[in-house]
């Protein structure tokens, strides 16, 4: 048993870190967040060149065929850079849904262009009730047409096609389809734009059954948690650096236990989130019977931890942490969006309870 990264995993993580640091430093991220869509075609093309757009998908569709642990590592590094744009929506979410629910022909049609970097996409899930419980979805396709609304759809404005979760199946709607209307929502996370997507008798192609979604959503949820880990790590790094250099009362503020012990807690929360995320990635990859529990553990813990790490980071920075210029609040905003996405901590605690208490529990696979 070896719960450390293999050499190739270390290599992937390091090169991703260097890639994002080089191609999407803070200034670039801030520039993109001020744009309407936070999307940059040149950056996307570089992501494609790295193979990131096809990272976990089969080579048959132009993917790289790596595992879920590798996806976690990549998302962790993307989170550290606060990568703006539709990478999560397109590759992680839409890609996983396509990979899970559709036929080889549909994969060739929709997944392959994602892997190849030619298409952007997203998945429309939530409705006005904003419930992550699939039973609360009302939208129904009739005669290959959709009429209704989806809320909180990330990056819809630059999607070439939108995957739509309806009661009676999973559908693809082309960006140019008649009756499709996309309007921005003004939300806290400036680097991942949200939209309302309206359908009015809009033609939609059925690509699979909703039963396949659970697995895809688990992958997306774990990857979102991994992204939170990267954000926590960056927040911790910035904060520790500040605590070493900022002086008050003639000493670096990190000398004061009120500051230092909060940094220690940030470290504990970050590392614990990382452990949970890596385990979830491994459990998903191995189709371990506790994979769904592991995903909920990771999302539950990381949702809360990202918020508390952010709170501590801002607090330790003092007035400086409250300024627009300091990046900490940008990570904090992303953490807020991600905290509720795919279910908040309360949602996942209840999901864990239903699996552990009611079902008698599948014990996490043990050594």
């Amino acid at each position: 048993m070896q719960f450390g990264l293999s050499e190739s995993q270390e290599f992937l993580k390091d090169s991703a870190r260097k890639f994002f640091a080089g191609e999407c430093p803070s200034a670039q991220m801030r520039r993109l967040m001020e744009t309407d869509t936070a999307y940059d075609a040149a950056l996307w093309s570089k992501l494609t060149d790295q193979g990131y757009t096809g990272i976990i998908f089969p080579e048959a569709y132009g993917g790289v065929g790596l595992g879920k642990v590798e996806l976690m590592l990549l998302m962790e590094e993307a989170g550290r850079a606060l990568l703006p744009g539709p990478f999560f929506a397109t590759v992680v979410l839409a890609g996983s849904v396509l990979d899970s629910v559709c036929s080889p022909a549909h994969k060739q049609k929709y997944l392959a262009p994602i892997c190849g970097g030619e298409a952007r996409s997203t998945v429309a899930i939530l409705e006005s009730n904003a419930s992550w419980n699939p039973r609360d979805i009302q939208l129904n396709a009739a005669n290959g047409k959709l009429t209704g609304e989806k809320y909180f759809v990330s990056d819809a404005a630059i999607a070439d096609f939108i995957i739509v979760v309806a009661r009676n199946g999973v559908f693809v709607v082309n960006a140019k389809a008649p009756g499709l209307k996309i309007s921005p929502m003004i939300a806290m996370d400036l680097t991942r734009k949200l939209y309302v997507v309206e359908f009015n008798n809009t033609p939609a192609e059925e690509i699979g059954a909703i039963t396949g979604l659970a697995r895809a959503f688990d992958v997306a949820t774990a990857a979102l948690s991994a992204e939170l880990v990267g954000g926590m790590q960056r927040t911790l790094d910035i904060t520790v650096e500040y605590a070493k250099t900022r002086k008050q009362f003639g000493k670096p503020i990190g000398t004061f236990q009120a500051v230092q012990h909060q940094c220690a807690d940030m470290y504990l929360e970050t590392e614990s989130s990382r452990s949970a995320v890596y385990y979830a990635g491994w459990a998903l990859e191995e189709n371990s019977p506790d994979a769904a529990i592991a995903v909920s553990i990771a999302k539950m813990y990381a949702s809360d931890a990202a918020r508390t790490v952010g709170n501590r980071g801002i607090q330790i920075h003092g007035g400086m942490g409250f300024t627009w210029e300091n990046d900490v609040h940008l990570y904090y905003r992303r953490a807020k969006g991600s905290e509720t996405a795919f279910g908040d901590a309360t949602f996942h605690r209840e999901r864990i309870a239903s699996m552990v208490i009611d079902a008698g529990g599948v014990a996490a696979k043990s050594a």
Binding site: A130, M188, F249, G318, V328
Partner: protein
Amino acid sequence: MDLNLTSEELQFRDELRSWLASNVPKDWNEWREKPIEESFPYLRAWQRKLQEGRWAAVSWPKEYAGRSATLMQQALFWEEMARVEAPPMANSLGLGLIGPTIIAYGTEAQKQRYIPKILSAEEIWCQGFSEPNAGSDLAGLQTQAVLHGDHYVVNGQKVWTSYGWVGDWCELVVRTDATAAKHKGLTVVLVDMKSPGVEVRPLRQMTGESEFNELFFRDVRVPAENVLGKVNDGWNVAMSTLMYERGSYGARLHLIFKRYITRLIELARNIQRNGRPAAQDPIIRQKLAQCSAEIEIMRFNQMRAFSRLTATGVPGPEGSIQKIFWSELNQRLQQIAQEILGSYGQLLAGDPRAIDNGMWSYAYLRTRGNTIEAGTSEVQRNIIGHFVLGLPRSY
């Protein structure tokens, strides 16, 4: 112990209530969302109206157009103002903090010169205390003032100045003796913000707004007669201002927080969670109840503190409890709001689907500053530890 109002308090409250009933502007709701630059003349006018009713500075002595209001009456004043959702006053720092400091430390000439125009909102005041390198450590201030004949020449930078953009005058803490121990060589001077060399820049916060400013002083000449209190006694003068700050906070918070929780309960009745209204969800109920209870306890603590201060007359270090309590409670409250609002919680003002026009997302971000501004939670715990419990200094 008697929590009923005394007849004097009742009389004070009733007089205020009836004055407010006929004088509070009805159209504040139309103005409050507008940029402060636009609504500022409106706030000046409102303060002048309060002044006409002798309500602008109730805590001030009668000779300075105040009412020598007791602390309890001051608390009643803010409660009544919050109850009718009265607009704030334009010169709130001048009235709340700086005016009282001038009354306490100023010369007769200074009082004559500044007090009337503070009251009338003719001259708006701001405060120049924090610096980029002196936040929690106020004694480490570096802004320099050097005496040249009959004036000081001031050089330095201040941050986190409210009302800096509109300030006519500034209560500025400067270092007048670089050789003295840290909190010794400081002096408070009153600076005309129109003096050459004063520059005001907006300071953008994480909420996206610019509530605060940065002030830059480059060879600014300040007449020596503008020293408030004694030269090199600025630490005590500034601390006195901060005590007023700590004391004045909180009095009106109870009704504001109560309004938050009432609205939140109303929202919870209408938001569905697990197939029933969130207000019926046992987990949400626990959190709302805890928060409701803490809002009441905040008020009980404040009432006890007011009663204690009424006996001693001067705000003391126990104000640190209030500061910690309200700031951390407000953060917990906003977190509960976020949990109830779910995905809607992240929508900002301007989004047509934002609940209460984004009040909750704004408050979520804004409350992050509560545990930093006006003395961080860490500084407050130092104060309790050292000055209240008598533990050795920890910093």
